[in-house]
Symmetry: C2
Subunit: 333 residues, 2 copies
């Protein structure tokens, strides 16, 4: 089954029975609490910027994979993983000098480079504080397991290594598929994998299946991001085509197009401007590479769904996770 | 007893019996392992830069406060806390555009802004990974307690909040003593406090005494840093006088001097250059404020030693911690 939805998370929480939206609301409340009150420290309405954005796909995965029988530790993990994701975005925007994200001014734009680096560090620290918080707000509360801290820390290490790998590969028009794959695993798949297993403990076999699921949809998610950067359309993605190229980031559509159009390898990425970057996108699109990558992303989603059926997740959780998986490749932003 | 030593940590490890240098060596090995192999990812000899520097005062505090009977969890905590400290320094150097630290090129200078932000994130993530690592390398190994994760996460939150507070106060020549005190607590004392209690669990009363000890030497440490920035001498501190002022950071020597020489309040810190910053330092020194702050730092060290004697720490650990406390104010770098 393939469903089309521009907002997979909303679609899922609208369809699910009450436990899921209630828990997502609780995660949202905790995220809001975590960033509330920073207004004076950060200057401007950065708290709102932080609290507002995002598809919340990772917390949704945490809650669904943990299942409705999971307790407060799943809500804490969902909150923590989104805080790490937010921290990464705040630092990425500093690195990319990005004025806007999803049409809203970035923390970097609102508060400057120094405050944005510190704000990212703060979000990051808060993630681990949330996980380790011994709560006390209700009888259900109990501290995070070391397992959860280890999972989140290892995913965070992967995110930082992914950024470093991207820097190393920057502007290299001859970069290999293997390097691209490694970057996707580090920068995107690792946190999806983490999301799928951090909320609750399962048997080793079930956990392995959920890791496969998370990895596959993470890679599909990144592949589709990279397709959208080439083909847009900007009025739906909310950003200009070719922004990755302008940043020196060579992705799979370019790599595949390079075989059909070897002169692409001669492109001087450092010399691109917005207009010439769009022209390169047109040349990539002309080879059919973006559609091949989109097909690859869909294949991975199918494999993800196969892994999911071996994971022991059933009932409504299974249905909803299939919807999330489909939503990963049927989206524009 | 007050001892003078330019390198308090070396003095302590030289005097202590074998367990302490052996454990410090083990911490050093783990720090080296953590940064080893990043050469290719970071570009240049950043791994060496990271591994080389630092007084390692925080790990020393962890090991001494935990005591010789503590196990592997103290070594892990000592490693983790130094990684958080290193992460902070790497990010601080990005924020300050700093070419050198302790006479060695910074990660920022070696590898650029983007890689340095990612390298800081990586060190930070590794800190929590080290703490949660379930090891397995020997029979003694066991996972970190949630207590340790919570302590380190809360200290990290404080560090980031301290940086934000410093940004907020930047260039404000009228900043209050209370704001200065808050910044010192967040940016410096919080990690010292954490170091003194993270290595081993103790009774509530003993832990409270160790927190008092850590807080007092942390504040003394910061006070002395701020004195050295005004009075130098550069040939011993390894940096020019007035670098805080050039960065817009108003510290206690300036605040106290402002009372004796109100015209200091009119200083346009944004208009300073290296030469005029030194002139401001001379005006601050002329009021006697730096020596009053140095006296304040010494008072805090005495209070720290009083707290220490109520902490239940005894024997060689007590002697060595008193040496560390003295070293905090009897140093030039």
């Amino acid at each position: 089954m393939t469903r089309s939805s521009p907002e997979p998370v909303t679609a899922v929480t609208d369809l699910a029975s009450a436990w899921l939206p209630a828990r997502m609301t609780e995660v949202e409340r905790r995220l809001g609490e975590t960033v509330a009150g920073w207004g004076p420290e950060l200057g401007g309405d950065t708290g709102e910027t932080l609290a507002a954005g995002g598809k919340r796909m990772r917390p949704l995965l945490v809650l669904l994979c943990a299942g409705r029988s999971a307790g407060l530790e799943a809500i804490r993990a969902a909150t923590a993983i989104e805080l790490v994701h937010m921290a990464t975005l705040v630092h990425d925007d500093v690195l990319d000098d990005a004025p806007l994200r999803r049409g809203v001014p970035t923390v970097y734009a609102n508060s400057g480079r120094r405050r944005a680096v510190a704000a990212g560090d703060l979000l990051f620290s808060r993630a681990f504080a949330v996980l380790a918080d011994d709560g006390g707000e209700d009888g259900e509360s109990r501290p995070a397991t070391d397992r959860q801290v280890e999972l989140l820390a290892h995913a965070s290490v992967a995110l930082a290594r992914g950024e470093l790998a991207q820097r190393r590969d920057a502007y290299d028009t001859g970069v290999s598929i293997e390097r691209y794959q490694l970057r996707c695993e580090l920068k995107t798949a690792a946190l999806f994998e983490c999301a799928c297993v951090i909320g609750a403990s399962r048997s080793a076999a079930e956990e392995a299946a959920l890791l496969d699921f998370g990895r596959a949809i993470g890679l599909a998610f990144q592949l589709l991001d990279d397709v959208l950067d080439v083909v847009g359309p900007p009025e739906r993605t909310g950003k200009a085509r070719g922004t990755d190229l302008l940043d020196g980031t060579v992705t799979l559509p370019f790599i595949l197009a390079r075989d059909a159009d070897p002169s692409l390898r001669e492109t001087d990425l450092r010399a691109l401007d917005a207009a010439t970057a769009e022209q390169v996108c047109d040349r990539i699109a002309a080879t059919g590479a973006p559609e091949r990558v989109r097909g690859e992303a869909r294949d991975r989603v199918e494999r993800a769904k196969q892994a999911l059926r071996a994971s022991g997740v059933g009932g409504e959780e299974l249905q909803m996770l299939e919807l999330v998986a489909d939503g990963v490749v049927e989206r524009y932003s």
